[in-house]
């Protein structure tokens, strides 16, 4: 049984069909990617999975349990956490305090949460910035913070939304290593990405979304060769980082 089972999700915004009968699965302990041209509906699908948007049709199952339409905080409590494409740091708080908010999901005591935050920061390579205010971070730092915060909730399934957008190639490589280590620690990852070299090197499984529909599914090599996918991207195989 897959950790996440999305079945025939559809979502309409007025006249626009943003997502149309999309189905995908995320297998335990593997990295699954959701790719597609801009505006394909990827973030909308994430928002639906994580409970931020109601679906018009279809269902989402997490560990076999129906979570369609559940409130976001409850879904997080069950072990499914998402990051945001447009980073949302807690600006006035320090990096440590930011991560601690995530850690508090399982740690009631302030002291323990702050300790856990320090550990997670080390895990993602942020320990040098622990006491800096979040609003002073660079875009790369904020993305990493977003990741760290989500990680602190000790999730089973991590939804990463374009966590590499706007990063330099060096930064991309660092994040790829971090994500791999997260996977190795037993967390299942579902990510939306545009940075193709990262997607190809990271993912075990890829779904392609175009205009709300899943048009392809397979391993990296199959997807790269799929003419429909190539066409959907208008011939752009590699996107500049």
């Amino acid at each position: 049984m897959a950790v996440l089972e999305v079945s025939n999700i559809s979502k309409r915004f007025g006249g626009l069909l943003a997502v149309s009968e999309a189905s995908l699965e995320a297998q335990a302990g593997r990295i699954t990617a959701l790719i597609g041209p801009n505006g394909a509906g990827k973030t909308t699908l994430f928002a639906i999975i994580a409970g931020f948007l109601p679906a018009d049709a279809g269902s989402v199952r997490f560990d076999g349990r129906e979570i369609t339409g559940m409130a976001p905080h409850r879904i997080c409590g069950l072990g499914l956490v998402r990051t945001f494409q447009i980073v949302q740091p807690f600006g006035a708080l320090s990096v440590r305090e930011n991560i601690a908010v995530g850690a508090h999901l399982h740690q009631r005591a302030r002291g323990r949460a702050l300790e856990a935050a320090e550990k997670v920061a080390r895990q993602v390579g942020m320990e040098a910035q622990l006491d800096k205010p979040a609003q002073g971070l660079t875009i790369a730092g904020r993305k990493r913070l977003e990741l760290a915060r989500a990680l602190a909730t000790q999730p089973r399934l991590l939804l990463l939304d374009e966590v590499m957008a706007g990063l330099t190639p060096t930064e991309v490589n660092e994040i790829v290593a971090v994500i791999k280590s997260i996977r190795d620690a037993g967390v299942t990852v579902l990510l939306i990405e545009h940075v193709m070299q990262a997607v190809m090197s990271l993912s075990d499984d890829i779904y392609v979304l175009n205009q709300g529909r899943i048009i392809a599914h397979g391993g990296p090599r199959d997807i790269a060769a799929d003419p429909q996918v190539v066409e959907a991207y208008l011939g752009r195989r590699k996107v500049h980082a």
Binding site: P72, F84, F90, A92, A109
Partner: protein, 313 residues
């Protein structure tokens, strides 16, 4: 930080020994009163980021319930006080449940609190049971049993005790998971929900605590002045006073409301001394100070003391 608290506590404890005039005793009593009222606003507005423009609705409830219970039902002052505080908490929970359930945020929430305060104001003003236009007058019965003190110094110590309690509670909140969640909601409510925070419940808890604390201020007020009417209890003036102290002193900090209250009180005395006791002068000065702070010190006066950014962003 604990040391600073201790020093401040000691300062206020011994202060009455150095005061000889009734005037200055009243000044400090009133200042501490606004420090308490301001802290109640601070919990919801400063830490929680939910700016309220109608905080008088909680304050007035505390004052009126206490007055009505004593005057109309003959209850003793202490029981009335307890019930009044509970009433304040209840009103907080009610307004919070409605507003947050329907997702009111930011300016909308601020205006709705003002609307509620106005509704209450019109209600108590129209209802004979609450004294209608004349207000409520609690009979003078000096003695601890009726929570009135012939020697005004006791009132000073009473409000000091309340302030110490309220500030201690706020201090603990700041260092708890509840506080961390409140701040997260203030900074970014969606991100907070994504991290497992039940924003509705946390905000509801904050407004309930805030309402209770403001009601305590209301109880103190009625025992001190023995009079309240719709304008004093539920009017915009008290709502504005509730938010001025924390905003000027530093919203989202424990000591902000106290510093703000002291600054405002001093400013009021200064303007009276310079421009005479004309109506409206000190409020005028407050308005100017508010704009100055918003422009140059958005983190309030505490921002001058602390380097790290705290307080509402």
């Amino acid at each position: 930080m604990k040391k600073i608290f201790l020093i401040i506590c000691i300062f206020f404890l011994v202060l009455p020994l150095f005061i000889t005039s009734r005037f200055w005793l009243g000044f400090w009593t009133t200042t501490l009163f606004f420090a308490l009222l301001g802290q109640s606003w601070n919990i919801l507005g400063g830490y929680g980021g939910q700016v309220s423009f109608g905080h008088a609705v909680f304050f007035g409830t505390g004052a009126y319930v206490s007055a009505v219970l004593q005057v109309r039902f003959g209850l003793d002052a202490w029981t009335s006080a307890a019930i009044a505080v509970a009433a304040g908490a209840l009103v907080g929970a009610f307004i919070g449940a409605l507003s947050f359930r329907y997702g009111l945020r930011g300016s909308y929430f601020a205006l709705v609190t003002l609307a509620f305060a106005e509704v209450f104001r019109v209600l108590v003003n129209a209802w004979d049971f609450t004294g209608s236009g004349f207000g409520m007058l609690v009979p003078m019965k000096p003695g601890a049993a009726s929570l009135q003190f012939a020697d005004r110094t006791w009132f000073y110590y009473a409000i000091l005790l309340l302030v110490v309690l309220a500030y201690a509670i706020t201090w603990r909140v700041e260092r708890s998971r509840f506080g961390a969640y409140l701040l997260a909601i203030r900074e970014n409510e969606d991100a907070a929900r994504a991290l497992g925070i039940n924003a509705f419940r946390i905000k509801l808890a904050a407004i309930t605590l805030s309402g209770a604390m403001a009601a305590v201020a209301g109880v103190f007020y009625i025992q001190y002045y023995l009079f309240v009417d719709s304008h004093v209890g539920y009017g915009p003036a008290m709502s504005v006073n509730a938010l001025l102290a924390p905003l000027i002193g530093g919203a989202g900090t424990v000591l902000g409301p106290l510093i703000g209250a002291i600054a405002l009180g001093s400013l009021a005395e200064l303007t009276s001394a310079l421009l005479g006791k004309q109506p409206g002068v000190n409020l005028l000065a407050y308005g100017v100070l508010l704009l100055v702070i918003l422009r140059f010190l958005p983190n309030g006066l505490m921002g001058l003391l602390k380097r790290a950014p705290r307080g509402s962003s």
